[in-house]
């Protein structure tokens, strides 16, 4: 089963839930965790896992073979991203602007453009017991997060056992790219009006994508039941609540796995996991 953990808002506890579930699963079976928050990957901080290898992820950029180029300007005209500038005596390529659509390569009438490479980021692979963890790390200054997310997701194809996806925050294309292939998405919402607002955005996103989802509330306090009311009103199944407590916050701050560091939270995560693995939301 592929399980995505997502939230519209950042800092709601996505990584806390994803790492805790991955740890729990990996005690019993082979488990794969993909940290798709490639701008700010954090899942590896929670495991005592050795870096096994690191793979460079590249994107295509055009390389102009000047001896064949007639400076006709077609490549510049077809490039929607302004990554090429054709001057009378040379063609400038701006790799940061290129989105690797291959259009210039396909359309150059002289065949004067060949395929080059630019670095987008790396995929790091780590192991801890029966857990395998892949993290994406976007290059500083790079903007093509979706390509790196796609490269990461390719590692889930031949995975044995369960796959957990720690999604990036937001509702834009990186987040969508992350949750699209999941059988079930766990939306982690923080118990504040910000959390409610962003949960609603995420719920609408999931419905538009026809994705199955359930909700876990984090930082829950007894006097705020706005998220419960929302879920009841929308007919969304609420799996569990993680309480707002200083000891939990401290444990996470130190990069500890919550159910390991605070064993009294173990039944809570077992209940979440059970709710996911037996979710009726998942279409057969």
């Amino acid at each position: 089963m592929t399980i995505a953990v997502a939230s519209g808002k950042g800092g709601t506890g996505k990584t806390l839930v994803a790492t805790s579930l991955a740890w729990l699963l990996s005690r019993e079976s082979d488990t794969l965790l993909l940290d798709l928050d490639v701008e700010e990957p954090n899942a590896h901080l929670f495991f005592d896992a050795q870096l096994v290898n690191s793979e460079l992820v590249t994107g295509m950029i055009p390389v102009i073979e000047e001896e064949f180029c007639t400076h006709c300007g077609l490549c510049q005209r077809v490039c929607a991203y302004h990554a090429l500038l054709v001057l009378p005596d040379q063609v400038l390529v701006f790799p940061e602007l290129c989105k690797s659509c291959n259009g210039c390569l396909a359309l150059c009438p002289e065949g004067a453009i060949i395929s080059g490479k630019k670095s987008i980021g790396v995929v790091e692979y780590r192991e801890a017991g029966r857990l395998r963890l892949y993290s994406g790390r976007l290059d500083i200054g790079a903007t093509d997060a979706p390509s790196l997310i796609r490269a990461l997701k390719s590692h889930a194809r031949d995975a044995l056992g369960h796959v957990l996806l720690d999604a990036p925050p937001g509702t834009a294309c990186p987040a969508v790219e992350a949750v699209r292939s999941a059988d079930l998405t766990v939306l982690v919402a923080e118990s504040t009006p910000f959390g409610l607002h962003d949960l609603d955005l995420m719920v609408r996103t999931m419905r538009k994508l026809h994705q199955a989802f359930v909700v876990v509330i984090n930082k829950a306090v007894p006097h705020d039941d706005s998220l419960h009311e929302y879920c009841a009103r929308e007919g969304i199944r609420l799996l569990a609540e993680i309480p707002y407590r200083e000891d939990i916050a401290r444990s996470c701050a130190r990069g500890h796995l919550l159910p390991e560091a605070l064993p009294e939270t173990l039944p809570l995560f077992e209940r979440i996991l059970d709710g996911i693995l037996h979710a009726e939301e998942v279409r057969a």
């Binding site: 510049q76 990554a83 400038l92 940061e96």
Partner: protein
């Protein structure tokens, strides 16, 4: 020669736009004929990043040889250099007219 001045409007009294890639537009002066026209840069204003090179494209297409503007980013600077467009930064110029006067004065000094 065609000279471009980054500006927020189409007139000699328009304030100059300190930004290059994200300038509202360019006031163009044809030195020989004295004719002027305005080149709108609205599409590049909305670019998330990479507004600089796209703006250089616009200027190259318009046959500009000199650009009078404020801040030029590193990507645009390289592109302007490759396109052999001279960059002039007139400190203290507030309007298109100020910038033009500054440019003309310097031309006279050098000729």
């Amino acid at each position: 020669m065609t000279i471009a001045i980054s500006s927020t409007g189409n007139g000699w009294d328009s304030p100059i736009d300190e930004r290059f890639g994200r300038a509202h537009g360019f006031f163009l002066v044809d030195e020989e004929s004295g004719q002027t026209r305005y080149l709108d840069n609205a599409t590049n204003l909305d670019a998330g990043h990479g507004a600089g090179p796209a703006t250089v494209q616009l200027l190259v297409g318009a046959g500009v040889q000199v650009i009078i503007t404020g801040r030029v980013g590193p990507k645009a600077e390289g592109a302007l250099q490759a396109a052999r467009i001279t960059v002039i930064n007139p400190e203290h110029a507030r309007t298109v007219k100020d910038a033009w006067d500054h440019y003309s004065l310097n031309q006279q000094k050098h000729s």
